[in-house]
């Protein structure tokens, strides 16, 4: 067996936490985020249960004050989340040195998989959920009857549960990091394993093509919706409004598009951009090819805004209040289109150069 240096053997004797400035910073943010999430979930549920727009009882005014609390802490929570996502990956990056065998984020993830992968996924999902809530809240407050009040209050509860789950996963990740030899991207992806049939598909263009088709489909959809709304002078008429089926299918398609995006990055874009035929590591790609982060973030934001658009316009009360909102929602749709088109452009330019 390969003898480990003395300092690493000492660490094997008992599980211990790796601590550095980034981990401390991240944990502080995580606990604040948890506190915010729990306070928000509790208050959201409380107000949801008692809210009655027609009531003039003193309690209704107190509930209104609680809604201000929700808006304040969730706005702070959103910005906290925007910072926590990159901070999480920086923190994991800082642990490479302390985990034997780790050479990039794949190794750090492997030190405590699958917890680490769930935690990383939540880092992307939670800001999107917060964003959805804030957009809904913004629209809600444009109208004196606050049509989305119940919906937005109820939505906080599952977000709170996710934050709690995330905090537990994050904390257990840092506190139970096993200081053992881990496999990293090199051993995971680099060594050709002829007996694994998936290796054949791993170098294919197929997922890149599917990804391009899906994004073009989404862009065309955005264009179509935009033209229809422009023709009706943004009066807010649309067959897709308050249509739950549209919402569900659109969410599925968009989520599928993101999954295909990850597959495309893994199978073809990583080896192509890194110039290493067998290196499929997305973490190495993001670390070493700086424009990856740009198109990744743009495409992610574009898809998220696209989902949010439908989640709002397919809401139950949308048709009653849409003249006020439609303009803002068209803006949202435009941003989604800009982000997707921009991300796709950056990716395509790099791909043309690489090929």
């Amino acid at each position: 067996m390969f003898p480990l240096p003395l300092w690493e053997r000492v660490r094997v004797r008992g599980i211990q936490m790796i601590i550095n400035n980034l981990i401390v910073t991240y944990l502080v943010c995580s606990f604040i985020s948890l506190f915010i999430g729990l306070v928000a979930a509790f208050n959201g549920f409380y107000v949801w249960k008692k809210w009655d727009i027609n009531s003039q009882a003193d309690e209704q005014y107190l509930l209104e004050k609680r809604v201000y609390l929700l808006i304040t802490i969730l706005s702070v929570g959103f910005f906290l989340r925007l910072l926590m996502a990159p901070l999480w990956f920086f923190t994991m990056h800082s642990m490479i040195i302390s985990i034997p065998g780790a050479m990039c984020l794949a190794g750090v993830h492997n030190a405590n998989a699958p917890l680490s992968y769930i935690a990383s996924a939540l880092k992307l999902v939670l800001p999107a959920l917060y964003g959805y809530w804030l957009i809904l809240n913004f629209l809600d407050r444009q109208s004196e009857i606050q049509p989305f009040m119940k919906q937005k209050l109820l939505f906080i509860a599952p977000v709170g549960i996710l934050i709690l789950l995330e905090a537990i996963i994050d904390t257990s990740f840092f506190f139970s990091n096993p200081p053992r030899q881990v496999s990293c991207c090199t051993s995971l992806f680099d060594v050709p394993r002829e007996n694994i049939p998936s290796m054949v598909s791993q170098s294919t263009w197929i997922w890149v093509i599917v990804f391009y088709m899906l994004i073009l489909f989404i862009l065309l959809t955005i264009l179509y919706l935009f033209i229809i709304q422009k023709r009706s002078e943004y009066s807010g008429h649309g067959w897709w409004f308050e249509n739950k089926m549209v919402m569900v299918s659109e969410t599925l398609v968009t989520t599928f598009a993101f999954a295909v995006f990850i597959l495309a990055l893994h199978t073809k874009i990583s080896p192509l951009f890194l110039g290493l035929p067998f290196h499929h590591c997305i973490f190495c790609l993001c670390q070493e090819v700086w424009d990856t982060l740009i198109f990744f973030v743009m495409i992610f934001i574009g898809l998220t805004l696209f989902i949010i658009y439908f989640w709002v316009v397919c809401s139950e009360n949308y048709k009653n209040v849409n003249p006020i909102f439609s303009n803002n929602m068209v803006k949202l749709l435009k941003w989604s289109g800009f982000m997707l088109a921009g991300g796709l452009a950056v990716l395509s330019i790099h791909m043309v150069i690489a090929v």
């Binding site: 067996m1 390969f2 003898p3 240096p5 300092w7 690493e8 601590i19 550095n20 400035n21 980034l22 401390v24 910073t25 502080v28 943010c29 604040i32 915010i36 306070v39 004050k65 201000y68 609390l69 808006i71 304040t72 802490i73 702070v76 929570g77 906290l80 910072l83 901070l87 920086f90 040195i97 302390s98």
Partner: protein
Amino acid sequence: MSKIAGHSNLLIMAYQNLIRYRGKSLAILIPLITVMAAASFMMFTRGGFVKDAQIAKQFLPDVTVQAIEAGRVGKISLGLIKKIEDIPHVKKVVARTWGYLPLKIGSVDTAYTLMGLDIDNLFVSSKLPWAIEKGAFLTAEDRRKAVLGQGVALSFNADVGDKIQIKDTLGNKGEFEVVGIFNNTVQIYSTDLILVSIDDARGFFNYSKDEASDLLVYADNPENADLIAREIAGRFRNIRVLTGKSLTDLVTEAFGRRGGTFQAMWLILLVTVLLLVWAQSAHISVDMSREIGILKAVGWQTGEIIEMKMMESLILSIGGTSAGILAGFVYALMGTPGISGYCLGCASIYPKFPVPVNCDFSSVALLFILGILPITAISAIPAWLAGIVDPDDTIRR
């Protein structure tokens, strides 16, 4: 009258409020500056160690092989050189003989390293860490001659042409003529090393002709270091194999552990400051409550009051963090007076080893996140409490 102008007006008002309630502001600012100063000197110092270790890594061999005798590091046979050179991807194996020598500076016991190099086979001359500042490097024919690091030369008060007397713990003595002094690109080397020919080192430490302290293995490609290390460990018994990465990690970790103690202490301090901020912000005096009531009565919205209060926290946290970082940086540059011994740990055995400092963008960005984010977030609830003050109640009082 844009929305942005409205926000900037609120920002100005928030600043004016902080000046008006300066006692309260200072009660938050002073502890915050202290905590951020502690965090930043720690981060800059750790950064210095990491950077030093990373530079040192460039000059390390890809793999170092040592012999183990009775569980301790012992002398290694030169017969292994040929066998290791037969391993695929190995480009060259070079022997090295070295040992520690005690040195008393004033009343402090320190140590430095006498290293004997196989000058004929010194393989990676282009990667030598000892860029000669004065004099010349050793030649294969040089005997009883030495090249010193700048730090060591300072300790011995020696210059090129001078003779230095050394002795080890067993009483072996030797005299060497200084032929060159190398600069301090890497502090670990310049404060520690005396380089002599391998024959001189063998004579001094009583090694026979076919023995050395360790073997330095150079690979055809540094990427193959792990592969070679595994192969050596698999082929030979009673040896210890160290890769360049593990040695660098060792240096970094050595400080990391002491840093960890600081981190834990610092975390407690941060929580204390957060509680203090909470207590200070959550307390709304009668005057402040009346002011908020007036503002709301003349048309300010609850959201605008909350925003202004959040801005107050933001200004305080940005100001406190900036001042703290500056104070921490100055303290680190001054050599962390009072705690430098603890910071240096093993490195304190080197004569005159200054605490390295490294201040880069990512450290400063991190410190700003650390200072601003928790304070701003913790102020959200006090800001809300201020925002929901009932104007009717307060202006009637």
